[in-house]
């Protein structure tokens, strides 16, 4: 199970700190992401300029995994281009599905690597990917929350 790895310091820190949990000024995209089956709900706010994600934050409720995953993601994507953000999300899905396991390859995910072992907790996968799915939809201009799990 590796619960230790999952509820690691990084996770509890991100869950507790409200650093990325607020509204931003003049967001260019605001998108809701929900997991109906567990009631998690986040609202992601992004401000893009010239294809770069200048600022990002979120509000909403959810479990430690979804909250931390969202917060870590926001740290990662700030200052990145939309394309880079999409690349990161692909890498993240690959890691969570246990398709990409090579440490070197995962390096760009930085702190998000702490969520690697979620792949062994299928019931919690959807908590970890909620933010990233919402990001994908936001960046690709889809306006429906993604229900897939």
């Amino acid at each position: 199970m590796g619960l230790e790895q999952i509820y690691s310091e990084i996770l509890s820190e991100h869950n507790n700190s409200k650093r990325n949990k607020h509204h931003i000024d003049n967001p260019t995209t605001v998108l809701k992401g929900v997991n109906p089956s567990c009631g998690d709900e986040i609202e992601l706010e992004l401000r893009e300029r010239d294809g770069v994600i200048e600022d990002a934050a979120f509000t909403g409720i959810g479990c430690a995994i979804s909250q931390a995953s969202t917060s870590i993601m926001i740290d990662l994507i700030k200052g990145k281009t939309k394309e880079e953000a999409i690349e990161l999300s692909k890498l993240f899905f690959g890691m969570i599905k246990n398709e990409i396991t090579d440490e070197d390859q995962l390096e760009p995910l930085d702190e998000a690597i702490a969520l690697k072992d979620i792949s062994h907790m299928p019931a919690r996968v959807k908590c970890a990917v909620l933010a990233w799915h919402t990001l994908e939809n936001a960046v690709e201009g889809e306006h429906a929350a993604n229900h897939e799990h």
Partner: protein, 408 residues
């Protein structure tokens, strides 16, 4: 030692390297070996399509299936075997009533009364009926201990009420609802009473006469039987006047190209090949329950419940919903939250210690909203649980906030 543990092999399997502490009995119970054996014996010795064949094998299957029906009838104190319909689960039983009674006997402006604590299976079908017929859903709201007051019941059940749908026991709060009083009031205004006994019959004797219920629904899998078998009891006079629900093989009398006439009860409501193995499993489960005895079940569970509630009261940062003391008549279902920790995290953390509890809305979202929570944790007991189970649960629960970096 709990004398029943030996009958439940799964309870002796290690889970995540630890002994399994199964506290999700309200979701589904484990099955004793005698139930598994009854099902296997059927398939090994006399599996056949019942009612259809005239040969020995089919006759034996038919007899066994009808005996199972008779046993259910005796168990819940119904008048006649014909009043027992085998379904797939409690949800299907309730849908049968909604479709066949609700859609045919309700009119615009009629009211359906139900507690806000109902399981979605005794709530969403009534939304469907209300929408189709222009009827109105009227909710009963419980008090702080989870109970429905006489005042609430008397003010909501009125001459407009045509159906009252109510769970005998709530699957979230464990509250025992005053079904008999509700039925009395409902019958006085000419309404029918649909009682969801999914959470009561595993723990409590259910007698349809004493409840004065018009319809009763429950699931086998929550009372030691296999999945895939459920029961609907209905008073014969009501079932008789209801049109069939599912149609097809077995439930007909004469079929012409453009029309058909239907078989008498109970076949009228049992379309297609029935789950004989499941019905025999349910009969074996009833045998097992009788052998343990409801007295023992209730005594064991109420002792464990008190022990659990006492233990939880001593852990800081825990909120228990509904009756928190075990003082009122209630079943061993305990919903709670740990401050600042999402129920899903609580469940994952307990799971690492081999403790299986449930987290979420428990198919009762309107109740969650009424309680002003997003979700809760739920630990639910059965007679095969032990004090040691509770000790492990409590020890694991104490550590939860620590895992997430909070002080205890």
């Amino acid at each position: 030692m709990n004398p029943y543990l030996d009958d439940f092999p799964v309870l002796k399997e290690p889970m995540n390297g630890k002994r399994l502490v199964y506290l999700d009995n309200a979701a589904t119970t484990q099955k004793p070996l005698s139930v598994l054996r009854a099902v296997e014996d059927y398939y090994r010795a006399f599996n056949a399509n019942p009612h259809r064949g005239l040969y020995e094998l089919s006759v034996r299957a038919t007899e066994a299936y009808e005996n199972a029906r008779h046993q259910v009838k005796e168990f819940i104190g119904a008048d006649k075997d014909e009043e027992i319909i085998f379904t797939r689960n409690a949800s299907e039983s309730l849908n049968l009533v909604a479709y066949s009674y609700g859609l045919n006997f309700l009119n615009e402006g009629d009211e359906i009364v139900l507690p806000v604590s109902e399981h979605h299976s005794n709530l969403v079908p009534w939304q469907m009926v209300a929408k189709a017929k222009g009827a109105k859903l009227v909710y009963l709201y419980p008090d702080a201990t989870g109970h429905l007051t006489e005042e609430e019941i008397n003010s909501k059940i009125t001459p407009k009420t045509r159906i009252v749908a109510v769970a005998h026991v709530s699957n979230v709060l464990g509250t025992v609802n005053p079904v008999r009083e509700i039925a009395e009031k409902a019958h006085a205004v000419g309404a029918v009473v649909v009682v969801d006994c999914a959470q009561s019959i595993p723990h409590y004797p259910v007698n349809v006469k004493e409840l004065d219920a018009d319809f009763v629904a429950f699931s086998g899998h929550k009372m030691l039987a296999p999945m895939g078998i459920g029961v609907l009891y209905g008073k014969q006079e009501l079932l008789d006047k209801m049109p069939p629900f599912l149609s097809g093989g077995e439930m007909i009398e004469y079929v012409y190209e453009q029309e058909a006439t239907f078989a008498p009860l109970p076949q009228k409501f049992e379309a297609g090949t029935q789950n004989v193995g499941g019905a025999l499993g349910l009969a074996a489960a009833i045998d097992y329950l009788k052998q343990v005895g409801y007295d023992t079940i209730m005594k064991t569970e109420s002792e464990l419940l008190r022990y659990m509630l006492d233990g939880m009261a001593q852990i800081p940062h825990i909120t228990v919903y509904g009756d928190t003391t075990g003082a009122t008549e209630r079943c061993g279902v305990v919903s709670f939250n740990v401050d600042d920790v999402h129920p899903h995290d609580v469940s994952s953390i307990l799971d690492a210690d081999g403790v299986a509890i449930r987290a979420g809305h428990h198919c009762a979202q309107p109740l969650m909203r009424y309680l002003k929570v997003n979700a809760t944790c739920r630990a639910s007991l059965y007679f095969y649980n032990t004090k040691e189970d509770i000790d492990i649960f409590l020890a694991s629960l104490k550590k939860v906030r620590g895992w997430l970096g909070y002080g205890a």
